[in-house]
């Protein structure tokens, strides 16, 4: 039978952000107005790209050694696991990361924030998770930066991460934040998810066990992807 693997569970109410969230002004002209068409998963949805064979390039998980000299800023380790809802590790999946530098500026032509670029920091990395779903990046802590969503709006320090998981429907693009950041209370992107426990998933935890003495602060952050639904697909 072709469709032997079960479909994936749908998110519980409030645990993912909506399309339209007017406090984040750019959603107003980009959120679809028609409700999406509900469609039960087929082979097209429960499969997805496989990255274990190095096709996406070698692991590039040390963002502090991509240039001749060291970047400016506070060195940090970001490490954790990719899991599904049932706590099972997601091994062999690609994680892509990007971020601004310690001054709050992206190495990107669209970013015109009046803060210095760092010639020793690009801010992009990628890694494939190990057999336990584990990953580890060495980078520098990104800065906060202003944006024009509303007067005097500042994005809290964050790192962008994208992960595939086992299927096209487990795709996740998200942002990791830092504990205790006062800007989180004012950030509509962070606040867009209604469920407070779900929002907590976006905040990494400082972990002294992960810190390297005399070298880098450690932050632990697990990403949780959709798991399999309880009931299998219709028999063929």
């Amino acid at each position: 039978m072709a469709n032997s693997a079960p479909p994936f569970a749908r998110p519980r109410a409030g645990t993912q952000p909506p399309y339209l969230y007017p406090d984040y002004a750019s959603t107003v002209k980009r959120a679809p107005k028609r409700p999406p068409i509900r469609f039960e998963h087929t082979l097209s949805e429960i499969t997805g790209p496989v990255f274990e064979d190095g096709w996406a390039g070698p692991d590039n998980c040390d963002l502090t050694r991509q240039h001749q000299d060291a970047p400016l800023g506070e060195r940090m380790i970001l490490a954790g696991r990719v899991l599904d809802e049932d706590g099972r590790p997601v091994a062999g999946t690609l994680i892509e990361l990007w971020q601004c530098n310690s001054a709050g500026r992206y190495h990107h032509p669209v970013d015109q924030h009046d803060a210095p670029l760092d010639p020793n920091f690009t801010g992009a990395g990628q890694v494939v998770t190990n057999a336990e779903g584990g990953y580890r990046f060495l980078t520098i802590k990104p800065g906060a930066y202003p944006w024009r969503n509303s007067p005097n709006a500042w994005r809290p320090a964050h790192i962008h991460l994208a992960v595939f998981g086992p299927a096209f429907v487990t795709r996740l693009n998200t942002q990791m934040y830092f504990p205790g950041d006062p800007l989180l209370a004012y950030d509509p992107i962070f606040q867009s998810t209604a469920d407070a426990a779900a929002r907590e998933r976006l905040i990494a935890q400082y972990d002294p066990e992960l810190s390297e003495p005399e070298w880098a602060l450690g932050y632990r952050w697990d990403m949780v992807l959709r798991g399999r639904a309880a009931t299998p697909m219709d028999p063929a």
Binding site: A2, N3, S4, P11, R12, T15, Q16, P17, Y19, Y24, S26, T27, K29, R30, A31, P32, K33, R34, P36, I37, F39, E40, T42, L43, S44, E45, T47, G48, P49, V50, E85, E96, W98, Y106, H108, V110, D111, T122, G123, A124, G125, H160, P166, A167, F168, R171, N173, T174, Q175, I189, F190, S192, T193, A198, R201, L202, M223, V224, L225, A236
Partner: protein, 194 residues
């Protein structure tokens, strides 16, 4: 259920995703010289004002020419895998909201029960202003199997159904298809709740 972990919420890719995600060479799925008919798909991405979306990222996932996905859960052992075809691609829009990809025409794949799905490409769509990505599909004009495709036949409004069908440029050879993505408004693309 109580023991389940809450999945991590999605957050927008923002305007600077090219830094981490844009690999222009990933817009050509044929670089490994796979089996199958070469096709190109181009289009524009428009917002609710009809303005181009210059900061969108489109990801494609498709079966090979025989209708098999390069994934361990596709157990259609009667169909060959193509070692030269991964089935995944990615393209960012340009300053005018345009994109273009090269690939091969996918074969039909099974649906639920005893159904057959018409050839299609699965799409995940990201942009600034989207807190969570969109799902849609690209079908192909002139494909007889479209008439019995489970998803297309489930959409009653022919205008909505039509937003999922790429139009073949007249006389194009190799085939060039046009597929616009309209995020909001009268010609809004049909997006999927998966």
């Amino acid at each position: 259920m109580a023991d389940k972990l809450i999945p991590t919420p999605s957050q927008t890719v923002g305007p600077f995703f090219h830094l981490g995600l844009d690999h222009p060479e990933w817009s050509d799925l044929t670089t490994g010289n796979p089996n199958g008919e070469r096709i190109a798909i181009e289009g524009r991405v428009l917002d609710g004002d009809g303005a181009p979306v210059p900061d969108a990222l489109i990801e494609l996932w498709q079966a090979n020419a025989a209708g098999r996905y390069a994934h361990p859960d596709d157990q259609q052992t009667d169909k060959p895998l193509d070692p030269n075809f991964r089935g995944f691609g990615r393209v960012a829009t340009d300053a005018e909201g345009r994109f273009r990809v090269r690939t091969i025409r996918p074969g039909p794949v099974p649906g639920r029960g005893n159904t057959l799905q018409a050839p299609h490409i699965n799409v995940v769509f990201f942009s600034r202003g989207l807190l969570i990505h969109l799902h849609t599909r690209i079908y192909f004009e002139g494909e007889p199997a479209n008439a019995s495709d489970p998803l297309l036949s489930s959409i009653e409004d022919p205008a909505v159904r039509g937003t999922l069908v790429a139009r073949r440029a007249e006389g194009s050879n190799p085939a060039l298809y046009r597929f616009d993505i309209v995020l909001q408004g009268d010609n809004e693309t049909a997006f999927l709740d998966l």
